[in-house]
């Protein structure tokens, strides 16, 4: 093994990893916020709102993510007339994608809480939203943690698809190196190791949070 060559890859790969982490976190945050809104629409009494979320879920789950990324990258500028950098388009596409799945994670967490909890909150005099915030969501969140961690790892891995629109995240950073020197296997092994590292860290964090809350 040529140690010097391998370590010369590290800075570029770490830059890629940094962007991958930023994209993953941004998509998880935006996706959770939008997913929460979708989940509340789904649970509302108004059928039209439920219909919108069902349609949204069908599109996000039915279309390949690659197509969604390309649609946002090429389609949004046509719709809005604003040209956006690939990294922004990528973040938007991943957020929309993550939201579709987070909506279901959050919805199932909320309906998993005994309806008697909401009733008890209302009977004390709390409004629907107060009962949701103070009583239902804290309990729902506990049940959501493993699913949120799972979604994090999915979003993390799917950031690699953004390489097709030229976002220099971890996968693209690797490709850029081996396109020049054909050191394909070693570079890809390093790229893969970095993904696994983040994956294990996220998994560990999730079990820690879970254990802490269950105490």
């Amino acid at each position: 093994m040529d140690h010097e060559v391998v370590s010369s890859y590290v800075p570029a790969l770490l830059n890629g990893l940094g962007l991958t982490l930023i994209l993953t976190l941004a998509s998880m945050i935006a996706g959770t916020i939008l997913g929460f809104a979708l989940a509340m629409m789904r649970l509302s009494r108004f059928l039209i709102l439920g219909g919108i979320t069902t349609l949204y879920g069908t599109l996000v789950r039915g279309l390949p993510l690659l197509i969604q990324i390309l649609l946002v990258y090429f389609g949004l500028p046509l719709l809005t007339g604003i040209r956006m950098p690939a990294v922004v388009a990528g973040a938007v596409a991943l957020s929309l994608f993550t939201a579709g799945y987070m909506a279901e994670v959050i919805r199932s967490g909320i309906v998993g809480v005994d309806p008697g909890q909401m009733e008890a909150g209302r009977s004390i005099g709390f409004s629907y939203w107060q009962s949701m915030r103070l009583i239902v969501l804290p309990q729902a969140f506990r049940m959501m943690i493993p699913n949120i961690a799972n979604q994090f790892s999915i979003t993390l891995k799917d950031t690699s698809l953004l390489s097709v629109i030229g976002v220099v995240e971890l996968t693209m950073a690797g490709q850029t190196i081996y396109a020049l020197n054909f050191d394909t296997i070693r570079v890809l092994a390093m790229v893969g190791a970095l993904y696994l590292l983040v994956f294990f860290a996220a998994e560990r964090l999730s079990s820690l949070v879970e254990a802490r809350i269950r105490r």
Binding site: D114, Q117, R122, I124
Partner: protein, 240 residues
């Protein structure tokens, strides 16, 4: 204090309440008895609008609570409710279960709310459980905490929905004792119960609910001793 007139409620095709009337004065204790599915729990839940009646009137302290613009959340603060399955908040301690409403809705300082909660817990005999979590309590203890939680809002009326039905037999009395003491202290209450002996002891009036209507309502001695309706007598012969 509470007047219900012609309360109707259907779930889909099933008409559960077919016009119930009930007037409750201050300090009244009414026991609702009847077979499962007779509608007594549904009627109780209509009184604080956990179920919204399809027709009829519910007037609480002179306010028509089914009128558009009625502040239902504010109204519920003055109506305490105790559920069959306790519905304590499992993520909060006993103390937090009791102080959540007073701090957030009555605007009490935490220290004041905790002082009140400690007194309430003492009154239900659970001073030593103040730091416990619901999962560490027996059913009877849970229900007594639930009663303390409802009382912490200083309600004018207490509604009990089969408060001892989910309890092991040996835990029933500790809960009934607490409810009986509330009655003795003049709390206005509506109690749905299968405990006939208890209902007889604690209630001023017993209403026999059958097929979505109050078939008969009378002081306990009269209703248990000398029921007017054949169906009441039939029901009592099965449960007594």
């Amino acid at each position: 204090m509470i007047v219900a007139r012609g309360v109707h409620k259907s779930f889909g095709q099933l008409e559960v309440l077919k016009g119930i009337d009930l007037t409750l004065g201050e300090g009244d204790v009414v026991g609702l008895i009847g077979a499962s599915g007779s509608g007594k729990s549904t009627f109780l839940r209509c009184l604080n609008l956990l179920e919204v009646p399809d027709a009829g009137q519910i007037i609480i302290d002179g306010e028509d609570v089914l009128a558009k613009g009625a502040n239902v959340d504010r109204l519920r603060r003055s109506i305490g409710m105790v559920f069959q399955n306790f519905n304590l908040f499992p993520h909060l301690s006993v103390l937090q279960n009791i102080t959540l409403g007073p701090i957030r809705l009555r605007g009490l300082e935490r220290a004041v709310a905790e002082g009140e909660a400690a007194e309430l817990l003492a009154s239900v005999g659970l001073t030593d459980k103040i730091r416990a979590y619901p999962r560490q309590l027996s059913g009877g203890q849970k229900q007594r905490v639930a009663i303390a939680r409802a009382l912490a809002m200083h309600p004018k009326v207490m509604l009990f929905d089969e408060p001892t039905s989910a309890l092991d037999p040996e835990l029933v009395n500790e809960v009934l004792d607490v409810i009986g003491r509330l009655a003795a202290n003049g709390m206005t209450m509506v109690i749905v119960t299968h405990e006939m002996g208890f209902a007889r002891e604690v209630a001023d009036r017993i209403a026999f609910v059958h097929a979505g209507r109050i078939l008969e309502m009378a002081p306990p001695a009269e209703l248990f001793g000398n029921p007017r309706e054949g169906r009441t007598a039939e029901f009592l012969s099965k449960v007594l």
